[in-house]
Amino acid sequence: MDVKITSLDHAPPRTQRPSRTLRRVSFAPYLFILPFGVLFLLFFIVPIIYAIYQSLFRSERNGLGLGAATVNFNGLGNYVDVFHDPNFYAGVGRVLLYGIVQVPVMLGLSLLFALLLDSTVVRFKAFFRLAFFVPYAIPGIIAALLWGYLYDPSLSPIVKGFSSLGLGSPDFLGPQTVLWAIANIATWTWTGYNMLIIFAALQAIPGEIYESARIDGCSGWRVAWHIKIPLVAPALVLTCIFSIVGTLQLFAEPQVLSAISNNINSSYTPNFYAYYTAFGNNNYYYAAALSVVLALVTFVFSFGFLRVTQRQAGV
């Protein structure tokens, strides 16, 4: 055990005690990690390994599909199928398009709110902070239900309001619009949460930095652009990574809206597709392959983003 404890350097040179301390200490970190480690192993690492293992098999039925199915080793066959699966590509493409628009809009708003609430031009800051943050207290699935009612033409005050003003009735659930209806739900739920993370980072900036900026004649938006935003860049990276991971596992919103829109099929998002493959078609092996590929794609995007921003900005 290569344990290094600084206290030993300063401790008086006694022959017996240091070795006993050393032994006692050397097990301590492992004991501290053990409870988390065991659960982490069981509920994170083992499922990943099991999913990879499952994804190498295939359930087959002979002839007319009568009789019990046999499970055969399929090698990487499921992965070949995933990479030729137009449903999977369509789903990934859809969430990428969604992410390219929704994530910058949401984080742009979050940053703007945080900067305004950190500035001197706004009053009633506590009220605004709370009002923006409140949607975070609503579970995603219930936010989706709520907005579903606000989109549903038979219930929606928005649709009714528009048509009573003679502006026609907007279709939030059409083939072109439903993706943005989903994006709106996510933006509504998460903007305040991201704002709070950025705001906390802004509050942690020491006041002296502003003093020197003011002496240099920097003010208002220039302080925000040249000082505040670079200093909260790590918080922005963090929120962005959470948003990327969240985007790629989009599930609850399309599932809820699929009940009231015909434009959401069972492969609308990759996660939705994996769920239906497993529980709708009982094809666990193919669903395992879909899960593995989705996890890899997510990891590549989030990790790639982390690397790129670290290299670019030294964050």
Binding site: M1, T6, H10, V25, P29, Y30, F32, P35, F36, L39, F40, F43, F44, V46, P47, Y50, A51, L109, L116, D118, T120, V121, V122, R123, F124, K125, A131, F132, V134, P135, A137, I138, P139, I141, I142, L145, L155, P157, I197, A200, A201, Q203, Y210, R214, V232, P234, L238, Q249, F251, A252, Q255, N271, Y275, A278, S291, V292, L294, A295, T298, V315
Partner: protein, 305 residues
């Protein structure tokens, strides 16, 4: 200005100084523009709540028959609530309690385990430390829903699906909590203090429990809240794991009502709306009361370790 500075104690001096020097007039054009912009978004963020409150006072007929953003002449809130709490022999109350158990127990245990692991990663040098931390970081980047399907298959192998454990056990694991507590322990627990405790003869665990834990309280409150909300809001894991209605949390329960609305079940709309309103009250209060606590620890997450 005293109003706003009182609520943001951290920034008091800074804001007071800048205000005095650069904003002599109370209403500049910039200020009006910013306030208008924020007010527009207040409407955006609060209108769905307003709709929820208004709708929970209506019966099924008025829900579809009257304008959604104003009250109807019939005030039906109490009978809606009564129906909500008694429908299907009070299953909704059961869902509320389940959610509280999953989120309460899961967040408490999860925070304790995350605190211990994060403390060890920050304050000891030992073999495998970097590997463990990399694994934790990697786990943050992997979507938890991708794990839910294989987890379901594993749980069904050992006969744990459709039990409290199936939701509770995976909920305890919070890699982000470990990450936060490692960073916070590294920044806020001085080595000298731990040495002093050791020299005084305190064991490693006692040092952690009496010295380190106290210093980590702001971060631990943050982790606890994050995890509580995350489990409270979790939908995918319980959806996959549970089939017995009696074990459902609120999220899965309300969605099962939602898919059976329509036709003769139109009355379920009023139940879902009342149920959504009631279920959001505990977290709303929690957020309002504890918002000031977790600001201190939140910043820690963005500091690179």
């Amino acid at each position: 200005m005293s109003q706003q500075t009182a609520t943001v104690p951290v920034a008091t001096t800074r804001e007071a100084v800048t205000t005095r020097q650069r904003r002599p007039s109370p209403f500049s054009l910039e200020q009006v523009g910013a306030m208008t912009f924020l007010l527009v978004f207040v409407i955006y963020f609060l209108v769905p709540f307003f709709w929820l409150i208004v709708s929970s006072t209506k019966n099924a007929g008025d829900l579809f028959g009257t304008f959604g953003l104003w009250f109807s002449p019939n005030f039906n809130l109490w009978s809606n609530l009564q129906q909500l709490f008694t429908y299907n022999s009070g299953i909704y109350v059961r869902w509320l309690l389940n959610t509280l158990i999953y989120a309460g127990v899961g967040a408490l245990l999860g925070t304790l385990l995350a605190a211990m692991a994060g403390y060890a990663l920050a304050k000891y040098v030992f073999r495998g430390r970097d590997l463990i931390f990399s694994a934790v970081l990697g786990a943050i980047l992997v979507p938890s829903t991708a794990l839910a399907l294989p987890l379901y298959l594993l749980m069904s192998k050992v006969g744990l699906t459709n039990t409290y454990w199936a939701v509770l056990l995976p909920s305890i694991v919070s890699p982000f909590g470990v990450y936060l507590s490692r960073i916070y322990a590294g920044a806020s627990v001085p080595d000298e203090l731990l040495e002093a405790a050791r020299i005084d003869g305190a064991g490693e665990f006692r040092t952690f429990a009496t010295v380190a834990m106290r210093l980590m309280v702001p971060a631990l409150v943050t982790i606890l809240l994050f995890q509580f909300v995350a489990i409270w809001n979790n939908y995918f894991l319980p959806l996959v794991m549970l089939s017995d209605q009696k074990l459902f949390p609120i999220t899965v329960g309300l969605q099962t009502w939602n898919v059976t609305t329509g036709g003769a079940n139109k009355f379920l709309y009023t139940l879902i709306i009342a149920g959504a309103l009631v279920s959001s009250i505990p977290l709303l209060f929690g957020c309002i009361i504890l918002q000031r606590f977790w600001r201190g620890g939140l910043g820690a997450g963005s500091v690179k370790g």
